[in-house]
Assembly symmetry: C2
Homo-oligomer: 566 residues x 2
């Protein structure tokens, strides 16, 4: 089986310590020889065919050299030597004796002097400096970490002459930026992009202008972007991608994992361990900080039109925010310029897990690069150009977080500003999800004063959220206005349908958001009640139209911010 | 590699449809022959050595018989045939032509009559009844599902002469019940227990009195409980256990997956797909319900004393409750009799995912079997024997959910009843976590009236919770008294330490719970302030003691409910 996987295994097998030490040393010598040969072969003779790397299989007794027999049962070499072979020596004198014999078998009198110090001649046997295993700089990768050479992300901006212009898909704008990060760091060879065969389908095709997928297996006609050296690592295994990236970061390099949002749950447990490692090591003074573990979750819940229900799960961020606040960050940029700004920030950061959720489909763009930089630096803010409560108290706060919820919120706002022009509306957009938490809970958290200024202390907040709606409640339950926050998000309703219908199925669509507002703002009065009836009718029209045409209503597909007011 | 895994592979390779059909038919015949031979060998000749099962490897072009070349690029046999090989035929006449040619290559005129109906002579080629692939009863397992023969779980009760007696470890009490479920159903062969090598370490050793681990590989001296046929399936792969169990349930059988709580996250993504399948199929009238997917999460966050931080993650239930309420259930029985009652219920249930969190370490027992049955049927309730607010309004509600939080809550109550005897305390225990949600959100949810009666509308609630504390807020944020609910739970603080210190690190211990109460109930007055100071001192004493002795203070280890009042 191991040969089938492409290794050349060397077996070290036995149970007598002395010959086993010799056998192991010989196997290591052979393996190192083989590795040198392979390198020589590639570097000098240019033979880059996939080599059979050596591997060593050590087959020794479990619990080797520990207690042999305890209470009449064989321990050494059996499952019973797992964990603690001798129970409670304090109350079992015969166990205490076995423990003593065992420890004395290491002959401490030969290793330590009368003061209990390791004998100098033995201490000298250890290698010096970085040749010590515990001082290998690859085991404290922050020592080796060099800053990425970064292009100016502003140079990749999408042109936004007015809010609402159609974009090409946010990750497609990010692609050229990542391409140039790869290019600028090709010499220092310390940046890689990992993913489960989705670099193209997540919209990052620009990377292949300057690099390839690293691939040393056979190629066939029509293969594309495969080469023995490349900065993109692909395998349809989220586990493999996560493992590769963690190892790459831990040894002092930088990287990004792009993945379908739903399937990143595959590595929940691996993320857990990395986050725990970050938390613990950030308290160890000798540990240097490493580059952050960056996730780009493109291909998200709202645009799984042809994949359907199986591909819809925005819950990775719920999982992430359970980990220690000091090491986790979650960003939901509403458009391409915000995505650029956020990604620039994440790639420069240290010792965090950054989760970035972004879309790949053509979608409206809201902010110029200047505005995006400010918005992302603040992490949350009022979009004044979309609001009409300047100088007065708002009747309602329309909050949004995520690209699709932002689109639906702005579409809802445009309906209300046209149909209920007296209504004073404030639009708040959230990029940095952790802003919602109290300062006591997360270092990014807004102060209560700042939060109350944005969301008011007593007005209804209609919050359109990218993921499961209760996450917003979990983050905001301590805020003064929490009882007025009404959240719409993904509630596990989905199928293969149109993009807009996905929002309708989960009550996140513009019409539901308007109806929610009418329900919560009594002063919309009779006008509101009539509008609500019309929107209900519109939802039925929507269902009938998509059943017949297989695509969304033209007024949905072609809706543009501000169009009706020009 | 495939041979290394133990298979005998048969290769069907080529690109010409006609010979490939023949080759596939021949390979299938051979494989079926081999399977029959292996069975014969085992059943008639008694040769139960591990066989080399046949497997078929089909190596055919990707996109086979689809469009060969589109826009000058090779499609058939390349990565480009993935998903949609022809884009938008409506606006590309040349793509429309290719699509037409492709579809016509199936010669529909030979398959359908003038009315577009499948020709009768072709329809007759299909097998009849259950021999049709789509009507195979194993693909609609509910058809094959037979009720488990269940022993009376009351017969396995732990004796609880008074609340607080020491138990042997709750899962150790469950073991004999599961043993007899296995025994009673050995003839119908429709019950299995799955786990990643943890059946023993999760306290279910009783199973091996009547059955074994199913194992057809080699055995060595000192192996235990391995046999060619057994109802326990073990492999140190949570993925494998989950996959086995899902397949077992989907084909009409019953089972239980026992796992360390932290590592069940390994199957988050697999759970997702099963929960989605349950949700969708529960709406399909022809789909029969299958047995529930039962998780027993023993070895939980609070008792990872020697494993430490890596083994602490109670977040699987956060993940589970994101799925549709109709199919998920979460139980945290506080003692062994409750665990028996809950498990009996879960094993009888249909088409749910049931998560049961239980301890395996010796721990106090609270309820007699009669009381446990009532408590679990209600799912939540006031423990009158621990409360002293009978006939008056409580000053504080001490709520608890999970075995360790229940212990700490009752210890806190005992301190307060002794030291602050005027304080009116109500103790509420939660077994069925979904009771906390509104009725509109989960079918188990309490009505607001019932919730308000238990938790009051205006009194402080000190809630000691097994898992991440914010989950309680996420479940209760719509309740009238939500702002008064103060939750303690696991907040990602842990290391290798004593059991009690784990609760101290997370402010869930009895002393913190008392101090939380004093902070929130002003009428504890000067007495409260002095008590708080003493408890702070006690916490320092605790730290000093465990640093020196490596175990908890005697007054913690030996604490017993009611002892001080007798």
């Amino acid at each position: 089986m191991l040969r089938g996987y492409g290794w050349t295994p060397y077996f070290v097998e036995g149970h007598e310590p002395e010959p086993m030490h010799q056998a192991m040393a010989a196997a290591l010598d052979t393996a190192v020889e083989k590795i040198k040969e392979i390198r020589q072969n590639a570097r000098v003779r240019g033979n880059i065919a996939r080599p059979r790397w050596p591997m060593i299989v050590l087959n020794s007794p479990k619990g080797w050299t520990g207690p042999k027999v305890v209470d009449g049962l064989q321990i050494e070499g059996t499952f019973r030597s797992h964990q603690v072979p001798l129970s409670d020596p304090a109350s079992h004198p015969e166990h205490l004796k076995l423990l003593e014999d065992w420890l004395k078998s290491y002959r401490p009198q030969e290793l330590f002097d009368a003061q209990g110090r390791l004998k100098a001649e033995l201490a000298e046997l250890a290698p010096k400096g970085e040749r010590r295993m515990g001082a290998n700089p690859h085991a404290n990768g922050g020592i080796l970490l060099r800053d990425l050479r970064m292009p100016d992300f502003r140079d990749y901006a999408a042109a936004v002459p007015a809010p609402g212009v159609r974009g090409i898909g946010d990750t497609h704008v990010l692609g050229p930026f990542l391409r140039d990060v790869a290019k600028l760091n090709s010499e220092q060879r310390n940046f890689r992009v990992f993913g489960p065969d989705e670099t193209l389908s997540n919209g990052l095709e620009a990377l292949f202008k300057v690099t390839n997928r690293q691939w040393d297996a056979a190629t066939v006609a029509n293969d594309e972007f495969l080469a023995p050296a490349g900065r993109v690592m692909e395998m349809l295994s989220e586990h493999q991608c996560e493992g590769w990236l963690e190892g790459y970061l831990l040894t002092g390099r930088h990287g990004l994992f792009n993945c379908y949002e739903a399937f990143i749950h595959i590595v929940d447990s691996m993320f857990n361990q990395h986050a725990k490692w970050l938390k613990v090591t950030s308290g160890l003074p000798w540990r240097r900080k490493i580059a952050s573990l960056n996730y780009l979750l493109a291909s998200h819940v709202w645009r799984q039109d042809h994949n359907g229900f199986t591909h819809q799960d925005p819950g990775f961020i719920d999982h992430v925010v359970n980990k220690k606040a000091g090491v986790v960050r979650v960003y939901l940029p509403p458009d391409a310029n915000c995505l650029l700004s956020v990604m620039d920030h994440c790639l420069r950061s240290r010792h965090y897990v950054n989760v970035v959720v972004a879309g790949k489909h053509p979608a409206p763009q809201w902010l110029t690069m200047d505005a995006a930089v400010k918005h992302c630096a603040e992490g949350i803010g009022i979009w004044q150009w979309a609001s009409n409560d300047q100088g007065v108290r708002p009747d309602v706060v329309m909050a949004c977080c995520g690209d699709v919820p932002t689109l639906e919120t702005l579409a809802a706002v445009s309906i209300m500003r046209e149909r209920l022009p007296d209504l004073k509306i404030r639009v708040v957009n959230v990029v940095d999800l952790m802003k919602l938490q109290p300062q006591t809970e997360h270092p990014h958290g807004l102060s209560d004063t700042d939060f109350d200024e944005l969301f008011t202390k007593d007005k209804p907040v209609i919050f359109a959220f990218h993921a499961y709606p209760w996450l917003i409640h979990r983050l905001t339950y301590r805020r003064a206005n929490h009882d007025n926050i009404h959240v719409r998000g993904y509630k596990e309703e989905g199928t293969i349908t149109t993009p807009f219908d996905m929002t309708v199925l989960n009550d996140l669509d513009r019409f539901h958001l308007v109806m929610d507002t009418i329900d919560r703002v009594p002063r919309t009065g009779e006008k509101g009640i009539y509008l609500k009836q019309q929107l209900k009718d519109k939802l039925i029209e929507h269902k009938q139209y998509i059943d017949k045409n297989g695509e969304d209503l033209p007024e949905i597909r072609n809706w543009q911010w501000g169009a009706s007011r020009q």
